[in-house]
Symmetry: C2
Subunit: 89 residues, 2 copies
């Protein structure tokens, strides 16, 4: 299997695991609550994704780099929404 | 920076983004609900993680491979718990 096909797996994985957080953000904004979403999960995941960005940069992997930057942004928005709506109750 | 240090970033990222789903699973099992957790997010994430496993295998990256296999298992348990508890109501 050539490198183009290998990169395809990476990009497809990247698109799915990145876009996956969009329905969660939309759901949180619509229902105005994310009580059941673990705060610790969000914090640990955001820290981990930041290290994936460093790793992706070091091994020069574009799929890892791009995917994790967008994943980081989406999860930061989910975290902010969760904290914002939990304080409103 | 040598390859040992680069691998450290990968493994640290892997431990964090993998272990991150444990608090979510524990929270779901304790509260017996995951109503606010998006079903579409879980399904898309599980599909994406499966492709990361393929990508990690192809580029021979142990951190990507190990992390995503455990992430897959934890998210499958979260998905099963969510569906199970939603049907009990």
């Amino acid at each position: 299997m050539n490198s183009v096909n290998i990169e395809f797996f990476g990009y497809f994985a990247a698109i799915l695991t990145t876009a996956a957080f969009l329905p969660q953000l939309i759901k949180t904004l619509k229902t105005k609550k994310a009580e059941d979403v673990s705060l610790l999960t969000l914090i640990m995941f955001i820290c981990g994704v930041s290290f994936w960005i460093l790793y992706g940069f070091k091994i020069s992997s574009s799929p890892i780099l791009i995917a994790n930057i967008i994943t980081l942004i989406l999860n930061l928005f989910i975290l902010i929404s969760k904290v914002f709506y939990s304080k409103k109750i």
